[in-house]
Symmetry: C2
Subunit: 348 residues, 2 copies
Amino acid sequence: MTLKEIAAQAGVSTATVSYVLNGSARVSEETRRRIEKIVKDTGYRTNILAQSLRKNRTSLIGVVVEDVTVWHTAYVIDGINALAEEKGYHTILSNLRLLSKIESQFEHISKFQRDIDKAVDILLRMQVDGIIYVGMHDREIKDVLHDIDKPVVYCYCYTAGEGSSVRYSNEKAAYQMTKYFLERGHKDFAVIKGSKQSEPTFMRMRGIEHALREEGISLKEKNIIIGDWKYKETRVQVQEMLKRPDCPQAFIAMNDEMAVAVRDAAFEAGFRIPEDISLSGFDNADIVHYGQPKITTIDRPLHNMGYKSMELLVDQIENGYDGDVNITLPCRIVEGTSIKVMEEKEEQ
Amino acid sequence: MTLKEIAAQAGVSTATVSYVLNGSARVSEETRRRIEKIVKDTGYRTNILAQSLRKNRTSLIGVVVEDVTVWHTAYVIDGINALAEEKGYHTILSNLRLLSKIESQFEHISKFQRDIDKAVDILLRMQVDGIIYVGMHDREIKDVLHDIDKPVVYCYCYTAGEGSSVRYSNEKAAYQMTKYFLERGHKDFAVIKGSKQSEPTFMRMRGIEHALREEGISLKEKNIIIGDWKYKETRVQVQEMLKRPDCPQAFIAMNDEMAVAVRDAAFEAGFRIPEDISLSGFDNADIVHYGQPKITTIDRPLHNMGYKSMELLVDQIENGYDGDVNITLPCRIVEGTSIKVMEEKEEQ
DNA sequence: GTGAAAGCGCTAACAG
DNA sequence: CTGTTAGCGCTTTCAC
């Protein structure tokens, strides 16, 4: 069923049908009724392809994700969808599937960039109105998206060059968490870092050190463990640390998986949490919701990051480019019961 | 840059350009070269909208998901994408976001069906070649997709009426797991069920009972706990059960969250796993990978379900409808160290 | 109020 | 081998 056929059945021109469908011109009550009835009866559906071709506007947004199976991605997509629904946009998802690809072959950048180019090329051929690029790690991306004359927003990553972006602040979040410990009287810290090269590791470390410096506390080198984001590596090293007579008392882990490892190692060694050892995680992953005690952690604004990204993009599509906008959203501490309130604090 | 402009620059007709772009007709080596050079130099990109409009075929697949944030969804999407990439299709994602919607308002079916209809309507307007519907719970769906003259495949759910579907077998998986216990000499079972009305609960129970019946073992009513899929409910009830003198020894939990609850309750009560109590989970969720001992669980073929769904759909798109196909994929036991091998078994 | 007609960018007979 | 031409389904001036 096409608009033309509707017109024929109603005995009017295609223009008239188009007018009533879009309300783009005055049509007599009578003909409008007649046309609307036919539209309803026949179950006619506009061909958006034809419409978009003619209007040179698709209301389609290309969403390039580095990997859907990295769990934060789904929440970001959800946020994107939420605003898309409100604004009448639709998303076409391009999943680079980098997680499995990178594992199986080590040409990190080269093949990688090809995939991105190809994905973007196809989206552009589909005439998307704009593109959102969702990273799998929070990091700087050396302009992966080039020669695109459409609005682009980076989410869960950012670029040194051009392009708007939406992210959260690793540094601030870590600072916040460390403050949380300090306010409760903690002084003797251990930090479980992620992998050495990673940007989040670096930025979170900065936040921690910043907060400690403000209180005149310095972090001892031997109290820093590189857990590489993983359970096993962390557990083994923490076991060793707990044997030391000068073992620290407040553990800041840079993700929840490592925090759980600390908890397990502590129990194994006969320490109680939070009585003997205090502990925090990062990410608000599922795992912190099980086991005792609940680990205090950081919740990243995933949904909102997607939402804001889409907001930026839509604004640029509808109102034109007006300079890059870089948004950093705040994180939130999710309180568990893994951090003790020290008596000494009150006495000071 | 349009095909017409390319033609003008090359001094040929649009037809010729189209021929070289699609290889749809013989073109002299010389003009081909000339055209290809211009295409490359100008960075020309086909307008897929126009192309699809003309060909009446988009290579676009509509993927309707009940909720992206339900974690299995991402893996199913990943599987869909994998085949899509191979076959040259693209997916447009429609996220119903049912999880949050259902929680905030209780008009379960009514508003719900409206959302689906709207989502499908839009996909159809976009001229997708077919639709995959991805459920958030494995269950029967009372034909939510009607009046669609395009191929449809249900994934992670199925319909009593028409429509192809791809799922896994709850019953077989539970049977398999129970067999696994039996083969290791276990006889005294407890079952932690999911919520009462749920179909997976029902089917998994059938699988368990089937396996037990084969060995002439009957499950005592008082050894069945309704954990409602949740940690807390389960933990409390298991604590009670463990106090009984006739407390069972092999615990089959219908999901991993409840299995973790059993583990925690057991440790708390001074039982060792697997020495005193054996335990299995279901779903292969992240959480089973932490803590000790690793819980033996069931891995669902999520990626493959997406992949197969797409395979069915593409087949129907390219070769026409040839009856509904309903595929049930097998699950896989992921061995942890939570199930003891009983001595008695050897003696028998 | 309504219609005729041009055209969005592309493909595919059909001719030559 | 290459060009002419007629649309795919829709919107939108510009007339009347």
